[in-house]
């Protein structure tokens, strides 16, 4: 039982990370879209 609980907790963490990463990407895209990020020295 304990394993299941910790598996689910790990899963939730993984899901939260995935969600956060997607949000970061969308925020960056929005920043590009409104012109906040236009040229990056590369």
């Amino acid at each position: 039982m304990k394993t299941n609980v910790s598996t689910l907790a790990a899963l939730r963490r993984g899901f939260a990370r995935e969600f956060a990463s997607t949000l970061i990407a969308l925020a960056l895209i929005a920043a590009v879209k409104v012109g906040l990020i236009s040229l990056i020295p590369w």
């Binding site: 990463s21 997607t22 960056l28």
Partner: protein, 340 residues
């Protein structure tokens, strides 16, 4: 409980700072010596830092490299254009199918001949079918039996094959008289990792890069599905038979980057991005993958590499054989010189 949480938070913060430091060093090295590809610098510095962290007495921080990896994928959706599909076309889809068939065939044969254990062969096949390190990472998240050495070995084979392609393909191209389009298709199909595939294609002139990107986009679209197929085939039966747990384990995997990529990709296809915005997002994507590769290098255990020399060599040999088959198809196949 609170003490534990704050300890976790401080570990996470250390991880972010360490990652930022290594990324800055690797980037500086690349700026100073631009002739060595950025990918090599990122991985090299990552592996060095990982080896250093292993030797130190203090617990090593884990670097949060999955965040830039996922964010990079979502941003890559912005590169979706109708022209990309027109470029690849049906012959391209057939080429991808041929790659999958040859990779699956080669590794199934290796298992039959007892050259490789089944699960590791499956991991190799998944990585080398064009899905790369991210698919291996995704699978290892759920299949605990491959987390650790098998994951490291599979990651290594994917990375070393990418490095070999990065150095070898540009030398091979003039010898075989490959035109830029065929070269791009070859790199996009047979170099498993996005970053290395694009870096390899980038050594030739256009449209090599565009074609490689198109093939990567096409292959990436199937990554979620491939991960599910792998888990269905190799997940321990007891775990799968508990049914509901299996379903719960699989469900969150599909959303994440696949949904993000699909949304951004659909917006891009509808014309949401101008050429300049696309270029800026492309640079951001490159940065994201650069950071992620530092993290992947950091996690690569240099010691385990030597212990796993035999499966690594077999994996690389099979990759070379399947790549040669794809090259033969591209240059001598029914569609050679057409479209691709």
């Amino acid at each position: 409980m609170r003490a534990k949480t704050s300890q976790l938070d401080s570990q996470r913060a250390t991880g972010v700072v360490v990652l930022a430091g290594i990324v800055a060093l690797a980037k500086l090295a690349h700026v100073l010596v631009p002739s060595v590809p950025a990918v090599v610098w990122a991985l090299g510095f990552g592996i060095l830092a990982g080896a250093g962290a292993e030797r130190s007495r203090r617990p090593a921080p884990s670097l949060p490299y999955q965040v830039p990896l996922t964010a990079g994928f979502v941003m890559m959706g912005a590169q979706m254009q109708p022209e990309v599909f027109a470029l690849v076309g049906w012959p391209g889809v057939l080429s991808l199918a041929l790659l999958w068939l040859s990779v699956l065939g080669a590794f199934a044969l290796a298992v039959k001949l007892r050259l490789l254990p089944g699960r590791l062969a499956g991991l190799f096949a998944l990585g080398l079918s064009g899905f790369g390190v991210t698919a291996v990472v995704a699978v290892a998240k759920y299949d605990r039996d491959v987390a650790g050495t098998p994951q490291t070995v599979a990651t290594l084979v994917v990375l070393v094959s990418g490095a070999l392609a990065l150095v070898g393909y540009p030398l091979l191209a003039p010898l075989l008289g490959l035109d830029a389009a065929t070269f791009g298709a070859f790199a996009g199909l047979t170099v498993a990792n996005n970053a290395e595939a694009l870096a390899t294609a980038g050594t030739a002139e256009e449209p090599a890069l565009l074609l490689a990107a198109a093939y990567k986009v096409l292959a990436n679209a199937f990554e979620g599905l491939a991960v599910l197929v792998y888990l269905w085939l190799f997940m321990p039966r007891e775990q799968r038979d508990r049914g509901h747990i299996g379903a719960r384990l699989l469900l969150p995997k599909v959303p994440g980057f696949v949904i993000g990529f699909a949304i951004v990709g659909a917006a891009a296809l509808l014309g949401a991005f101008t050429e300049q915005e696309r270029a800026v997002l492309g640079t951001l994507t490159q940065w994201a993958f650069f950071i992620a590769l530092v993290g992947v290098g950091y996690r690569t255990n240099a010691g385990a590499i030597f212990k796993a020399a035999r499966p690594t060599a077999i994996g690389l040999a099979l990759w070379a054989v399947t790549s040669a088959l794809v090259l033969l198809w591209l240059t001598r196949g029914p569609w050679s010189g057409h479209g691709t």
